[in-house]
Amino acid sequence: MDLGARKLYLGYLIPGVAKTGRQSGDGMEQSGEHRIPADRATVWRSLNDPAVLARCIDGCQSMERLADNRFAATVKARIGPVRATFDVALTLARMRPPESYVLEAEVKGKAAGFGKGSAEVALADAGDGATLLSYRVVGRVGGKLAQIGARLINGAARKMADDFFSAFHEAVDPARSRTPATNPP
């Protein structure tokens, strides 16, 4: 079979934590909002809790704290036929408690390439003790992921961002059902 041509269209994804990109030089971007029925201090605490973050990353197999604001995670990404394990270095930067931070992720796949992305997360009071979480994710991939990942990287990355923040929403208030993200699948 014509593996050369086929390869190009096999491209999918890549992992990460709610972030990844499209082809090199052409980054992916995704934003959304969640109204979470918990006060800002509670949401902020959860955003800084590695156990909560680990639960919200689909396929997260381990999460280790390296320093106050740095974590190392292992993530097994599963999208379509792809099942690849990635090492993810997470850094919490530009902390302004309890208002905003930037979650930076660097992704290294053993054979699959690498990616880099960040999520700007902001919290605002939404009345009735609820908090409005808004996020903007940008990212980019390189290596093999970028070579073969042209097709659909945006879709996969958007889905991962949606899934992460939806899971976070549930994690902070499991009593409430999931609120659709702004970009439904």
């Binding site: 593996l3 190009l8 690849a84």
Partner: protein, 268 residues
């Protein structure tokens, strides 16, 4: 490619049992997505369970208003089948346009539907032709089957055995193929069931979907002009280096109109 154990079970029950007992298994059908993924080391299953030769997954039968096709039927067999040509020529045409000769001679209908690639052709047909997807344990209506990007209603170890298509009075499939892969940038099947029209779309969003406003407009009058102002389905359109979201949205209407024109001209 990483090493793996290869199994060729002789029954469907044995295949499912192998899957249950293996560490990180994958079913192998035509292998035209899974094997390239493995050679890229983007997947490394511990065990491949080959579904070829299972009698439960083979055979094509036209029975009245239903065309039943075994999941292991290869695209080239669908294209060449006299049963399919007779009952559902639009489906044979679709199969003839999948990928290239190598893909058509290896790839299977069940494999394509289980993978649910957003740009695969068969999902549009499954929706437009109101298919019932039969598995080793249940039946799933096509309307309940496609869940998202590469996501279906199938359980991890579930195997599609047959696909039963409702036979329409007329149908046509039109796609805008990627020139290299011939994947559908956008593909649309229009099927007329005695005045009740169903429209299945692939390639446009995360997974195949129907187009309710198109269906209503075409059920009222089966003509391309009926779609001039019909509302586009609510799709989170894909955008990549082959086509922007706006362009895909445009193609959905154009492909639907071309399929409608073919039906209306009576060539299908």
């Amino acid at each position: 490619m990483n090493p793996f154990n290869y199994h060729k079970p002789s029954s469907l029950a044995a295949a499912v049992a192998l899957h249950r007992d293996a560490e990180d298994p994958a079913y192998l059908s035509g292998g035209h997505t899974l094997l390239p993924t493995m050679t890229q080391r983007l997947a490394a299953p511990s065990d491949l369970i080959d579904l070829e030769g299972l009698t439960e997954l083979t055979g094509i039968a036209a029975q009245g208003s239903v065309l039943s096709i075994g999941a292991f039927t290869r695209h080239a067999e669908v294209a060449a089948s006299s049963e399919v040509r007779g009952a559902l020529p639009a489906l044979a045409d679709l199969a003839e346009g999948v990928g290239d000769a190598q893909v058509r001679n290896r790839g299977t209908m069940g494999g394509s539907l289980a993978n649910s690639d957003p740009a695969a052709d068969y999902p549009a047909a499954a929706l437009a032709l109101n298919a019932v997807i039969r598995t080793d344990r249940r039946e799933i209506a096509a309307d309940d089957y496609f869940r998202g990007l590469f996501e279906t209603a199938l359980a991890e170890d579930e195997v599609i055995t047959r696909i039963d298509f409702a036979v329409p009075s007329r149908a046509a499939y039109e796609k805008f193929p990627n020139p290299a892969s011939r994947y559908a940038t956008v593909g649309v099947m229009v099927a007329d069931f005695r005045g009740a029209v169903r429209v299945g779309i692939t390639g446009a969003g995360p997974c195949a979907c129907r187009a309710p406003a198109f269906e209503a407009a075409l059920s009222a009058r089966l003509a391309p002009a009926s779609l001039d102002d019909a509302e586009l389905p609510a799709i989170d359109f894909n955008s990549d280096l082959h086509a922007s979201a706006e362009y895909r949205a445009h193609l959905v209407r154009v492909m639907a109109q071309r399929a409608t024109a073919r039906i209306a001209a009576g060539t299908d």
